[in-house]
Amino acid sequence: MKLLYTILLMFITSTGLAQVEINGYVKNYDAVSLLNSNEYLILRNRLRLNVNYSPTDEAFGYASFDVKDDQLKGLELSLRELYIDLYFDNLDLRIGKQQIVWGEADGLFITDIVNPLDLREFILADFEDIRMGVNAIKAQAYFGDRRLEALWIPQFVPAKFSSVGEDWAFYTPLDKIAAIIPDSLIVVRDFTKPDKQPKNSEYGLRYSTLIKSIDFTLSWFRTWDDYPTFRQYYQPTQNPSAPFNVTITPVYDRINVYGGTFSTTVGSVVLRGEGAFYQNRNFYTADPRDGDRVVQKDFLNYMIGAEISPGNRFLSGQFVQEIIPDYDDQLVLNKTTDMGTILMTRTFFNETVKQELFLIYNFTDEDYLGRVRFYYYPSDGIEVIVGTDILGGKKKDTLFGQFDENDNFYLKVKYSF
C-alpha cells in the first residue's frame, strides 16, 4: 500500500494543483451524562479537511484528514481516506485507503461489513466517523444496469474498541471470568491477528442489477471477522477455592459472508431488505468439554424494512433477525434474536429545523437505544444539534444494556466550509 501512496503523490505533483478543492468542517461536540450531571462523556473539537483533486474527467484524487482534539482522551490525528479514482468507458477503479459501503439498512451493519468500525463510542458517532478506511483496490465494471464490483483488501484491519474501564468499553467474557476467578489466575495473551501476508488478504465480489424497478445485489466477502472471540483455556488447580486458572487469547477468525439486498417502491412506500449468511462464524459456548469455549456455527442476519415520506415527514421501520440455524443449548448467544427499529423525522420552516427520533428495541434481550435529536440550520453551512441518547435493558451484558449508565445529553455545533 505504500506503493499506492507514492503513486498518488506522484500523480498529484505531476499534474499540478490547479484542480484542487479543499472542504471540510469544524465541529464541537459536548456530551454530559444524564446519570451524573457532573460527568462529561465527551468534550471534543474536530477538524475535518478533505482535499479533492480533479485533473481530468477520467481521474480523481481524494484525501480526508481528521484532527480530533478530545479533552478527555487527548489529540488524535488520522488519515481517513486517500485514494485515486480512474474512470474508463465501462470500468471504474478506486485505489487507496477508502470506505466501501454496502447494504440497505439504516443504523445497522448487515452486509455493510467491508470497513471495520470504530466503536470507541459504540454506534453513536456519525456514520462517516464510525467507518474506518481500509487500503483496497476496488474495480467496478458496468454492463447497462448491471454492475460487477471486485475488492481486494491486502491487509486486515480490526474494529476499534474502548479500553477496559472506559465509558464505552464492551462487555466481554473476560468480565464474566474476572467475576469468579481471581486475577492472579487469569492470563490474557495478546490479540492474535493474521500475518501481513497476501494469503491473508480480504477479497469480495458484489453484483448489482436493476430488474423491473427493483434494485438487487448479491455479494460474497472473504474476510476476517472484525470482532475477536476470546478463546478460554481452563486448567485445574489444587486450590479448592479457585479450582481453575484460565488463559485467554483473543483471536480474529477467517470467515466467508454471502449477502443479498433489494430495494424498490410500491406506491409511495419504499421497501428494503438485506441478508448476510456467515459460514462458520465463531460463537461462545458454555460447554465445559469444549477446549477453548468457542464453536463454529453458521449464522444468518437479515432485515426487512419499509418507509414512507409524506410531506415534510419521514417514517421508517425495520425488522431485524439473527439466527443460528444449527443451534445447541450450550451456546451463549440466543438461537434467534429479534430487533426492530423506528426512525421518524420531520422538518419545519423550509427545512431550517428538523426533529428526529430513532429507536432500536431488541425483543429478545429486551434492551434498547433511543435517540432524540433536534437540528437547527441558522445559516448556510452551520448545523446545531441538541440531542439525547438513552440506552438500557434488563441485563447488563446485552448490546445496549451494558451501556445503561451512559445516557447522555449533548450539543453539537458544526460549521462546514
Binding site: 480533479s54 456514520f127 462517516e128 454492475r147 424497478s213 419504499v270 428494503r272 410531506g311 423550509n350
Partner: protein, 262 residues
C-alpha cells in the same frame, strides 16, 4: 399525470408566434404555452435563494440535467454544488410513464439510497416551489377559462384560470385553481397566482429576464421568484446556465454517475 420533471422555466417557454393577434380560446393559449415545453434534453445551472420574511437568506447552487431517452423515459439528475454541507448531494429520477424511480446520493453516507417519489404538493428542496410547480402538467388534467386580458410591465397578457378536471387531480394537487398571466406576443407566462383548497391566494410566482436560448427555438426566464403570501417566505431562482437540446449524455442518468458526487 406528469410528463416530465422539466425545470420551472419550461412552463414559461414560448416562441414568437405569428398568430398572436387571433382570438384564441383558453385551451389554445395553454396549448401554445405548453407547445415547446418538452425538449430532448436540458442542462441548467442556477442559484436558489431561500429568503425568510425577515430577509435572511440561504443560498444553494444547483445543476440539473434532464433528458427524454429513446425509450421515452424522462430522466432527471439534480446535483447540489454548494453550500459545503450539501455539496455533492444528488437526486436521480427516471420516469417511464407508468412509474417513477428515484435515488438519492448523500456524500456523507457514501451511499445511493432509493427513495419514494415525492408527492406533487411536497416542497422542492425546502423551497417555496412544490414539485407540481416545477413539473409540466398534462393539458387534459385541467380545464381552462379565459378571464380576460391585462397589461403586465407594459406587455399585453391573457389571463387564464386552470382548475383540476377530475377528482383524481383534485386529490393530488394542493391548489383549487391557478391564474396565469401569459404574454400575447409569445405565450410565456410572466405571473402565476396559486390558490389553496379554500380558494385563498397562497403563492405568487413572477418570472422576468426572459431570453432566447442559443441554439434552440426556446425562451426561458432567467429570474423567477415564488413567494408564499401566507408566511412571507420566498424563493428566488437565478439561472447562470441554460442549455437546450445540446445533447446531454446518458451517463448523467445512472447510479454510477450519481455516486461520483460531482
Amino acid at each position: 399525470m406528469k410528463r416530465s420533471v422539466i425545470f420551472i422555466m419550461a412552463t414559461l417557454c414560448f416562441m414568437a408566434d405569428p398568430g398572436s393577434g387571433q382570438n384564441l380560446t383558453a385551451r389554445e393559449i395553454m396549448e401554445r404555452n405548453n407547445a415547446q415545453a418538452t425538449t430532448r434534453d436540458e442542462r441548467a445551472g442556477f442559484t436558489m435563494k431561500l429568503i425568510n420574511k425577515r430577509g435572511k437568506e440561504r443560498k444553494r447552487k444547483v445543476v440539473m440535467y434532464s433528458k427524454t431517452d429513446a425509450q421515452n423515459k424522462e430522466k432527471t439528475l439534480v446535483r447540489f454544488l454548494s453550500p459545503a454541507d450539501v455539496k455533492g448531494v444528488g437526486l436521480l429520477s427516471i420516469d417511464d410513464g407508468d412509474r417513477e424511480d428515484q435515488w438519492l446520493y448523500l456524500p456523507a453516507l457514501k451511499r445511493v439510497r432509493r427513495i419514494s417519489s415525492s408527492e406533487k404538493s411536497d416542497s422542492f428542496m425546502g423551497s417555496d416551489f412544490s414539485y407540481e410547480d416545477i413539473e409540466q402538467n398534462e393539458l387534459n388534467d385541467y380545464q381552462y377559462t379565459l378571464l380576460g386580458q391585462e397589461t403586465v410591465d407594459g406587455v399585453d397578457c391573457y389571463v387564464v384560470r386552470s382548475i383540476p378536471a377530475s377528482d383524481e387531480i383534485k386529490k393530488e394537487t394542493a391548489y383549487s385553481m391557478t391564474d396565469m398571466w401569459i404574454r400575447k406576443d409569445n405565450y410565456v407566462s410572466v405571473m402565476v397566482k396559486f390558490y389553496n383548497q379554500k380558494g385563498d391566494l397562497i403563492k405568487l410566482m413572477v418570472s422576468t429576464d426572459i431570453r432566447r436560448i442559443d441554439g434552440a427555438e426556446k425562451w426561458r426566464a432567467n429570474f423567477i421568484t415564488m413567494k408564499n403570501v401566507k408566511t412571507g417566505h420566498r424563493t428566488e431562482l437565478l439561472y447562470d446556465t441554460i442549455q437546450i437540446n445540446q445533447g446531454v449524455a446518458d451517463k448523467f442518468f445512472t447510479q454510477r454517475y450519481l455516486e461520483r458526487g460531482r
